[in-house]
Symmetry: D2
Subunit: 369 residues, 4 copies
Amino acid sequence: MKTYPIQEMKNVKIHGRTKMGPDFLPLFWNNAGVEVNCTGGELWIDLEVDSAFYEAWIATELNGAFMSRQMLHPGTCSICLYRSMTPGPVKNVKFYRELQAMGNMERTILLVKGFRTDGEFLPVEEKPYRLEFVGDSITSGEGSYGATEDTEWLSMYMSSSRNYANIIGKKLNADIRIISQGGFGVLTGWDNNPNTNIPSIYDPICGPAIGDFNEVLGAQEINDFEAWKPHVIIVNLGTNDASAFRQPAFTDPVTGETFQQRMNPDGSYVKEDLERFTDAVKAFLAQLRKRNPDSYIVWVYGMLGYDLSVPIAGAVADYRRETGDNRVDYITLPNTEVDAYGAHMHPGYASHVAAAKVLTRYLAERLGC
Amino acid sequence: MKTYPIQEMKNVKIHGRTKMGPDFLPLFWNNAGVEVNCTGGELWIDLEVDSAFYEAWIATELNGAFMSRQMLHPGTCSICLYRSMTPGPVKNVKFYRELQAMGNMERTILLVKGFRTDGEFLPVEEKPYRLEFVGDSITSGEGSYGATEDTEWLSMYMSSSRNYANIIGKKLNADIRIISQGGFGVLTGWDNNPNTNIPSIYDPICGPAIGDFNEVLGAQEINDFEAWKPHVIIVNLGTNDASAFRQPAFTDPVTGETFQQRMNPDGSYVKEDLERFTDAVKAFLAQLRKRNPDSYIVWVYGMLGYDLSVPIAGAVADYRRETGDNRVDYITLPNTEVDAYGAHMHPGYASHVAAAKVLTRYLAERLGC
Amino acid sequence: MKTYPIQEMKNVKIHGRTKMGPDFLPLFWNNAGVEVNCTGGELWIDLEVDSAFYEAWIATELNGAFMSRQMLHPGTCSICLYRSMTPGPVKNVKFYRELQAMGNMERTILLVKGFRTDGEFLPVEEKPYRLEFVGDSITSGEGSYGATEDTEWLSMYMSSSRNYANIIGKKLNADIRIISQGGFGVLTGWDNNPNTNIPSIYDPICGPAIGDFNEVLGAQEINDFEAWKPHVIIVNLGTNDASAFRQPAFTDPVTGETFQQRMNPDGSYVKEDLERFTDAVKAFLAQLRKRNPDSYIVWVYGMLGYDLSVPIAGAVADYRRETGDNRVDYITLPNTEVDAYGAHMHPGYASHVAAAKVLTRYLAERLGC
Amino acid sequence: MKTYPIQEMKNVKIHGRTKMGPDFLPLFWNNAGVEVNCTGGELWIDLEVDSAFYEAWIATELNGAFMSRQMLHPGTCSICLYRSMTPGPVKNVKFYRELQAMGNMERTILLVKGFRTDGEFLPVEEKPYRLEFVGDSITSGEGSYGATEDTEWLSMYMSSSRNYANIIGKKLNADIRIISQGGFGVLTGWDNNPNTNIPSIYDPICGPAIGDFNEVLGAQEINDFEAWKPHVIIVNLGTNDASAFRQPAFTDPVTGETFQQRMNPDGSYVKEDLERFTDAVKAFLAQLRKRNPDSYIVWVYGMLGYDLSVPIAGAVADYRRETGDNRVDYITLPNTEVDAYGAHMHPGYASHVAAAKVLTRYLAERLGC
């Protein structure tokens, strides 16, 4: 078998925002990965991994079919993607990250170093459509694996393999990217933390991936938005902003400042708090538009309840009116059925399938396919 | 068998807005009907019917299960609801109109005169929930019967038996009412006719049922909104308003005046035209609120496309902001899948089932059941 | 409108075994009916009906889609099959019997007298495949309509419209015939009555239709097996034979003779009783073969339990060995799921759909389609 | 973390036929595995693996939910079953073999050496029912993973995780065992090899696991049938015997002897060849009965076609008649739908789900649950 360093490979298709390193390719995001067409009878991928509490999980596909899913441990390792196959015919293999991008005090780093095979690599086609999914834990696939009684916040429950984004990509023959962080909102996180919002991490290659090493990897550099222009951006946010209204105030551990989205005694939202949320929605649309002038944007919502449906949609409408930018839309996705929850009261696989069905129909019409 | 004149019956449950006549009960709307618990071995219903081009269609249920569906012809007639059953045990029977309320130049009148049975009638329970569905041809069940290649506008293709409203009522154990007119919108009909809008017909018992005879029946009297207060009003409108933007101007045949909702050359909606649509949405919400101060209102949209999703939702948001009335909501329903169309490019039964699933989940949470 | 007497019509497709009378066409069996391609704007069918306890039920289809279902009463009547349609284009209409053939002391007679239309009739195509279904109450569609708590034995609960035979015919684009009688077995009825067996009624046009009037109609004449040769005969029998083993002996009300299929104390079947059952299976296969030398025969079983699966299949195997006739087969159908029962503890519509799926797959492979 | 050698563990539930070694537990069969209830925050399993062409594949479950699936390589290794969980609460973990037992010239050996954890192990409950599945490649889950265009015979395409046996076990809350070999039949293998038959390998712990090392592991010792008595044995065989009739003769590479199941020119089976097949069915039933005097036996067939349905069922009937042993049954399972094939023209996951549905209904009634 011959070793192919990733940085020298011409025929590798890279999924997800990233930046090639001198001798590695970081996989930051959920569903970030590498895809090859290999003629070899055997194929291995060489990795370098670092993690502590939140270990990396990955999945592999062979010819488009899910084949394996496993936890990775810190250190270098090689994963056999297939072996004992007939040399010659092309095998399409995708290796991708199951775990969302990790930030904060934790780091979960997954670097592709290269491949080893007895064959060679042929070009991998670009799909006719590109879809970018921006979201929270739902889009991180939290709960798409795991028993309904499991309630811890752990790597293994997240996935892109059973994720609605992945299902849609396969159905529409589209390349997909996922930008998601569990607990994050448009304005605040689920706990009123005003820092855990997606807009603040959208522009860099991988905003949440902080720390010295991630900086070396280029995570904090502004993403090259010219290089991969999505036909449609699907924003699935608001679920944690809705949660915030029901949570106590968040106190910043450093500054001591507090932040809270408040409800009135009658259960309605406090006017100015709701407005800063809807302002955040509009601002995020403007930010997305600035970065993606050609993309259609659809905000989707509802897989875990419809609390903020009207405020979000109203903000989308206001954005349209104020900017004249009509290439933004709003639909709701089916709420998770009572028997379709996965781990941690998040949408289970059946719920991802149901959401994918509705959204596939929407996108097919939008894309004209 | 003994004859029970409808106006003398104590134990009959009346479905749908109507007004008891001296010796008849008019069934104006889709799903309007009469329900009895009968101990007889045999049960007939006596009817008086009038129609011309658009004949009346009705359906019957026995113990909650669909049993028959047929066309009725002008004149008096009796329909056997069951026979040859064991006298004594209670049989629950519902007789209801499949065809929407009919107006304009046509009249399709269906009057219940009474029942005949060898048994007696026992009280029929009220369901714990009441749901009012307000809509257009989708809610009139157009296309829920008929082959996909059938494209004429005829009575037989409409139904409440295969209607999402009916499916939801059964799943949630709720009494339902339907107020719907094919081709109608919030502001205009599908063809830019500014008169075929639902708000203008919502207040009377049966607004579209015009003409001398319908007036005698009481159709144009203001409905008694105190008598039946829905827990939730589901408004499924906007599909025809969206259509109008793509149609030529409507010319009033009497006044010669024209009306048109216009698109800009770039496919966006002309600002003032869109505003009069969103104004109509807000005005209709205010009208519904005035008539139904205690009801929750949810606007649903999307079974035939999402064109006006953002404007409608924006109007709902504006209505909330302007009135402080937060008991209005907005969600989208799954667009009809390509293989789920029924007759006349309308949602087929499978599409009604899919919409009912999403909306049942929503309503169950709203109703706390 | 012009009247078309049935006996003079060239362009009518007749479904089901029957014999044209001087001025009527009897519809004996479940799914027996007439199908026309009519260019008129309006179409009526003229009928003559007789019944007492068990009234006739019928259904209609327009362009292949179910449209109506209703009870008929004794006397002459006309049913409007459609009206208000655009004259000119062809409308395909099927009018068919929902109720199984009725015999014994009851008679339920349904005669087609002709049609009336303002258009004309064009030829109706023969389907590429012909399927004959021979069975008991399952194949009579008993319980395919009605609530699960309904347990009376009544006409209205039977159907061909929601019958697996009908579903299969549509899926495979096949013409179908049904020969079925509720309560009947291969050897005995459900109550050990040795006379209520399907073999004894298979050869005539409509064996169960006894009595003077049915005789006049030709019901007891031997069917013309040359005129309609099924590609496959599906025999769905054995459920009532299984029941008999659990029932007390039957006493013939006329002769006083008794008959009983017996179980041993350990729950196994008494050897000679089981043998006369399996002998009856083999004899019926021989009878079917004699009448249908070219047809493939598949015995299906299991929609209401698998008690006699092995004895039936063993008899099919013995028949093959003893005759060298290998064009007989055996498969089981899915047992009715606990939540899929219809009325009278019989398969509901969902169970018919499930059985149809398995059998359609089987027949498609058999027919090479 | 403390190491728990497998041979010293009291609270480990062993799945599948095996024999504890001095310091290892071999996992021979598909779905063979170990299950623990662990209080630790972290749990690892220590393994020793040997393989060449056909590598071992395994899967893990956490609290009954599928979590991971991966290829193993020769040597010793540790797999982390979970980590970062809250110490204290019980986590139920199952580690099991995806790959069927391997024999012939290949060996694929998977030995559990023990566990490591920071917690302790509590007892694992026995399920109320025990089911044994005996079969061929279908029951080895071949094709339950992999793309439909994949046609090589490789480890990765087999599974118990997406296997109907596994689905049924979960639905019925039953412990299951699988005894299966791809390509094997009752009399011959798919290629007329008379040695690749299941009866010849049924009695030992793991008949196909030949060779010196497997002998040391105890694979060829007679299984302890007293230790685990299945309530029901499901035999899913005959598919390869059917194939043999369409294949050329098999020539034994050692003796030069040939063997062939032959068809007559008319497509029927040669009488004596069919008889040796049905004799083999009967003999296998007798063998199963001898080893499992208390078990109910049901032969199932059809997921890849019904060619031998009648001969198999006839043999079951003959076996009943000849032995008086009526506790054997026969049903067919749904043939794989055209769109439900997995890899290598074998049943895909959707087909396993469909078969499991029918068989679950059967077994639930049989078990009275």
